[in-house]
Amino acid sequence: MNPDYRLYHPKWHRRRIPIFWWLGKRSYIRFIARELTSVFVAYCAVLLLLQTWMLGRGEAAYARFSEWLASPPLVGFHLLTLLAVVFHTVTWLGLAPTALVISVRGRRVPSRAVLLAHYAAWAVASGVVAWALLGGS
C-alpha cells in the first residue's frame, strides 16, 4: 500500500511485524520471489541497451563484448536470469485471466481461454524474436 494513503488514518494499534515476515510461509516467499523478478527484468533491459550500444561502436568492440558475454561466471548468472524471467512470464501471464475480464455477446470468456491466448502470444513473440535474430545466420 502506498504509505501516503495512511496519512489520515486514525492511529490504531498496529502489531510490529518483523522485517523478514515473508520467510515464514512458502506462498510469501513465492510472492517476494515474483516481485524480485523485476530486478532481473531491469538487468535484461540494461544488458540489451549495452549490447545495442556496442553494436553501434563497430565490429571489433562488439566481438569483445561477445567474448565477455561468453565468460563462464556470466553465463551462469545468465542462466539464473533466464530462470527468473521465465518465472516472471509464467506468473505474469497467470494473472492475465484475473486482470482481463472479456465478454463476448454477454458471456464471459472462460479464464482458461484467456490464459491460453496469452501463452499463444508468448509462443508467437518468441518465434518472431528467433526469426529476427537468427534469420541472417
Binding site: 500500500m1 535484461c44 545468465h78 545466420s137
Partner: protein, 116 residues
C-alpha cells in the same frame, strides 16, 4: 511524488513493461546471452544485427522494451521495498531513486537507439 493522479500512469507503464518483458525477454536471454555462449544456438552475425537495430520498427520496439521494462522494475521494486523490508519512512527517497533511474535509462536508450 505519489499523488493519486500519477499513480495511473505509473501503473500503466508498470503493466505494459511487464507484458513486453514477459513476451520477449525469455527468448532474447536464451538466444543472445546463453545459446551462443554455450554453443547451443548459432551466434547472430554482426552485420545482420546492425541491419536489424537500424530498422525503424526495431528502434521503436527496442526503446519501448528497455524503457518500459525499467519502469516496470521501478514500480514493482519500490513496492517490494515497502512491503518486504517495510521501509515506509523512505517513501519519497525510494520513489525518486527508482523512477529517476528508469527515466535516466530511458533517455540513454532513446539516444542509443536513434544514433546506433
Amino acid at each position: 511524488m505519489s499523488r493519486r493522479s500519477d499513480e495511473a500512469g505509473l501503473w500503466l507503464s508498470f503493466s505494459s513493461g511487464g507484458m513486453l518483458a514477459a513476451l520477449l525477454f525469455p527468448a532474447i536471454a536464451f538466444l543472445f546471452w546463453i545459446g551462443p555462449a554455450l554453443g547451443w544456438t548459432p551466434s547472430p552475425a554482426y552485420d545482420h544485427l546492425v541491419g536489424l537495430v537500424r530498422h525503424p520498427l526495431v528502434r521503436v520496439l527496442l526503446f519501448a522494451l528497455i524503457s518500459l521494462s525499467m519502469f516496470h522494475w521501478a514500480h514493482r521494486f519500490r513496492y517490494t521495498l515497502y512491503d518486504g523490508l517495510q521501509l515506509y519512512h523512505l517513501n519519497h527517497l525510494i520513489a525518486v531513486v527508482t523512477y529517476g533511474l528508469a527515466t535516466v535509462l530511458s533517455l540513454v536508450a532513446g539516444f542509443v537507439v536513434v544514433t546506433v
